[in-house]
């Protein structure tokens, strides 16, 4: 499928409806069955797909509505990770978990969720995988000598899963690494681990790095300068960063370091319910184009829309699409 110039996409999650939150909690309280919850998830995902299509987004996801949060979706499936199932109060809380021995090499088992997405849309799709660095920060490590060793083994396991996703038809896979910004000193080994993760994976690899979006608020502050020049060694195709909330100052880094990869530019602030206008979006895209050629830019929200009410999230995506169209028109497309 040929994508237009300045393709639009989402970072991953779509608005989590209040009713779905309540039903997830009902499941944890053992008042509804796993079978019922799976059916509920199927229907919620179909609705998220439809919303993204209706908004006109070019590359869509399943809205990640099956996920309690970006960590547990993988951690509870990862062989060798011990989960304390009593450690959650709310469905979106993180499980307490640990690793007490070497991680076995086995599939995680999320490819079926990608297949479900593929079967309900003709749009280009993307599947998001939480990166080894972020997962490492949530695991109590009782076996590996250090975080890098644990993250490297996580990368090897997830590499198998990413290849399984490719077999299932995935052409774009996004690695979510929001904790880079909180632990910039880790970056040296993070890039090595990232390259282990993507080795031999025949798909377009996107890395999303933000400043956190837990509970709809940032977890850290600072500048993306910490990424450079080390990130230039990453064997990825696109770097997706947040610029709407933080402003476009760090765009200059792309002129200064001339990275070999594309830029996914965040033009929608997902930490406020104020809906951007198409003009605001267009202005943010134009700003990005001062630093990166249009052929190498994808337009996205800053991060997932998980915390936004559905009507707000939809309106923001519509504004993003409309604003991008304005710029395409200016470029003669």
């Amino acid at each position: 499928m040929k994508l237009p110039l300045l393709p639009t996409s989402v970072v991953g999650s779509y608005s989590m409806p209040g009713w779905l939150e309540r039903l997830k909690t009902e499941y944890f309280a053992r008042r509804i069955s796993r079978h019922d919850l799976d059916e509920i998830h199927d229907n919620a995902v179909k609705a998220a797909i439809k919303d993204q299509e209706a908004a006109g987004v070019d590359v869509i996801t399943d809205g990640e509505l099956r996920r309690d949060n970006m960590m547990d979706y993988f951690l509870e499936r990862l062989p060798g990770v011990q989960i304390d199932r009593s450690s959650k109060k709310f469905y979106y809380d993180f499980y307490n978990c640990s690793v007490q021995g070497k991680l076995p090499m086995a599939l995680v088992g999320v490819a079926d969720d990608f297949r479900f997405l593929r079967s309900f849309t003709d749009h280009e799709t993307k599947f998001c995988v939480t990166g080894p660095h972020a997962l490492t920060k949530r695991i109590h490590n009782e076996f590996y000598p250090n975080e890098e060793a644990l993250a490297t083994d996580l990368a090897r396991v997830l590499n198998l899963e990413m290849k399984e996703l490719v077999k299932a038809g995935a052409k774009v896979i996004q690695i979510d690494e929001p904790y880079y910004s909180g632990f910039p000193d880790d970056l040296d080994w993070c890039v090595k681990v990232l390259n282990t993760l993507v080795e031999g994976v025949d798909a377009k690899i996107v890395v999303h790095i933000c400043y956190g979006n837990r509970y709809g608020k940032p977890s850290w502050e600072g500048s993306y300068r910490y990424l450079f020049p080390r990130i230039l060694d990453a064997k990825v195709h696109q770097l997706t960063l947040e610029f709407a909330r933080r402003g476009g100052e760090d765009l200059d880094l792309f002129r200064e370091f001339k990275p070999p990869f594309e830029l996914g530019v965040g033009v929608i602030d997902v930490k406020t319910q104020a809906v951007e206008t198409a003009d605001m979006v267009a202005e943010r895209v134009r700003k990005a184009l001062e630093f990166v050629p249009a052929e190498r830019v994808t337009v996205l929200p800053d991060c997932g829309c998980f915390h936004l009410p559905r009507d707000i999230a939809f309106a923001k995506l519509c504004a993003m699409v409309e604003g991008t169209r304005l710029v395409r028109k200016e470029l003669g497309q």
Partner: protein
């Protein structure tokens, strides 16, 4: 009949309970009370610590309608502090008259009251307009009574201004700032916000202390501090300037509504490192709910003046009974200057306020519109929260405090924290162990704050809430709420 001894001084409990049982038994035997009514009666014995409050010595609280179609139950609340010796039977008869028209009481209670409004949730009661007037015309009130509002507090002064509490708070804040600095995450401007600044005393103490600590440690953070003093009263903000005179370069004065600080300060979203409030939540619009036999009820109120008080006030101000209501309305709209003699206007205000009482009734939540629950608190969530509560409990919803809380948290920076000094209920059982408002403090209203609902709201917004006792003054009932980031 259920008799509930809620929170009584030990000496009076047994005797009072006996008196109540004997009195009600005699009313039953004499035919003043039907057997079915007796069976549906719940009597609460209270000891209300606020000398000024909105209750009669005996208050009957009917249930508007029994959802199952059975006989409505009603509650009788007896304030043993108010009841004069030997007056129980007469007070009981008088209060129960509307519940039983056959009581044969010479005048229906309704006729003994000048109603100021129709039944409604407390939050929208006229009582809150009086509360607002008090803060808007504080100087008039203080001039009339000859004492500042802080002197009217139970301890005679505000816990906000305790020097050691302020010093400890500053030390904690300095540690945070230092940590951010070490991690290269300290912004150029360090924003601090106090909401509800009173005389500005705490802000002044805080800045004095921070400046000194900064100098002692040679960190040079003080020039980067932007201290915002926020209050909805421009007059209060003006008055607070004297207390921070030495730090004017660091201070900004912002008129804001404590219910929604974000509305005014949206440009500081995620930028404020520390927000402090003392005794703000306990004075924000509030309503109560009750759970009885598993069902949830809103406590609706109707403000009134006892007929005797109304007659006395009307006579003193040469008003007809009809004009009294109009005069009160004008007072609330225009303040005491509605009267040609302003001091006389303040006196009228004070007399009306002192006499004002609240009638109450219970309305099943299924009967009221969903909007009566604040913000993100819907019925299913409330039911979830109440799972841990006793089956029969009356509690404060503190919708104003919840609204304020929810609209304050987004201002906090990534590592920022909120600190609230107030009177909190932190366990459901406390509602059965004491009276938690509303009470009157001079011209304002005071309610204890439901910390359990705040905790729930905070968790959903990404914060854990902790309560620590205010250990700086012996006997203080204040607690300190502070937030930490939730993972």
């Amino acid at each position: 009949m259920i008799l509930q001894l809620n929170h009584l001084p030990r000496k009076t409990s047994a005797a009072s309970a006996q008196d109540i049982v004997v009195t009600l038994q005699s009313l039953l035997e004499e035919g003043h009370l039907e057997h079915e009514q007796f069976a549906n009666l719940c009597v609460h014995l209270d000891w209300i610590q606020y000398k000024q409050n909105f209750r009669e010595a005996v208050t009957v609280i009917p249930c508007a309608e029994e959802p199952s179609g059975g006989l409505p139950f009603f509650e009788v609340h007896v304030d043993l502090r108010q009841i004069a010796q030997g007056a129980l039977r007469a007070e009981m008869l008088k209060a129960m008259a509307p519940a039983n028209p056959d009581f044969g009481h010479p005048r229906a209670v309704q006729e003994e009251r000048v109603l100021l409004e129709e039944f409604r949730p407390f939050r929208t009661s006229i009582a809150w307009r009086f509360n607002r007037l008090y803060w808007q015309r504080l100087a008039d009130w203080e001039k009339s009574t000859g004492r500042g509002y802080e002197e009217a507090l139970p301890g005679g002064k505000s816990d906000a201004n305790h020097p050691q509490a302020v010093a400890d708070g500053v030390a904690d804040f300095w540690t945070l700032v230092r940590d951010l600095d070490v991690k290269k995450q300290l912004p150029a401007e360090i924003f601090v916000l106090e909401i509800g600044v009173g005389m500005g005393t705490r802000a002044g103490l805080w800045l004095d202390r921070f400046h000194k600590l900064d100098q002692e440690r040679g960190t040079n953070y003080y020039p980067r501090v932007r201290f915002l003093l926020g209050d909805y009263s421009p007059a209060t903000l003006e008055r607070s300037k004297a207390a921070v005179r030495a730090h004017m370069d660091q201070c900004s004065f912002v008129v804001l509504d404590a219910l929604n600080p974000m509305q005014t300060l949206s440009f500081l979203r995620h930028k404020i490192q520390h927000i402090h409030m003392t005794n703000v939540y306990d004075n924000l619009p509030d309503e109560e709910m009750a759970r009885r036999d598993g069902r949830l009820y809103v406590v609706e109120v109707r403000a009134y003046l006892p007929a005797g008080d109304a007659e006395r006030i009307a006579k003193e101000y040469e008003l007809s009974a009809r004009d009294l209501g109009r005069c009160i309305e004008r007072l609330l709209e225009a303040g005491p200057e509605h009267f040609a003699d302003r001091a006389r206007g303040v006196n009228f205000w004070q007399q009306v306020w002192a006499a004002m009482r609240l009638e109450e009734r219970l309305v099943c939540v299924d009967d009221v519109r969903a909007e009566s629950l604040p913000g993100e608190l819907d019925r299913s969530r409330l039911d979830e929260i109440l799972r841990e509560a006793p089956s029969d409990v009356r509690f404060h919803l503190n919708s104003g405090a919840l609204e304020s809380f929810r609209n304050t948290l987004p201002l906090l920076s990534t590592r920022g924290y909120l600190q609230v000094q107030d009177i909190f209920v932190t366990h459901w059982s406390e509602y059965q162990l004491g009276f938690h408002g509303p009470g009157k403090l001079d011209g304002s209203i005071v309610n204890w704050v439901n910390g359990l609902l705040l905790r729930e709201t905070a968790e959903r917004a990404g914060y854990d809430v902790h309560f620590a006792p205010f250990r700086y003054r012996e006997g203080s009932r204040t607690s300190i709420l502070y937030t930490t980031q939730r993972e």
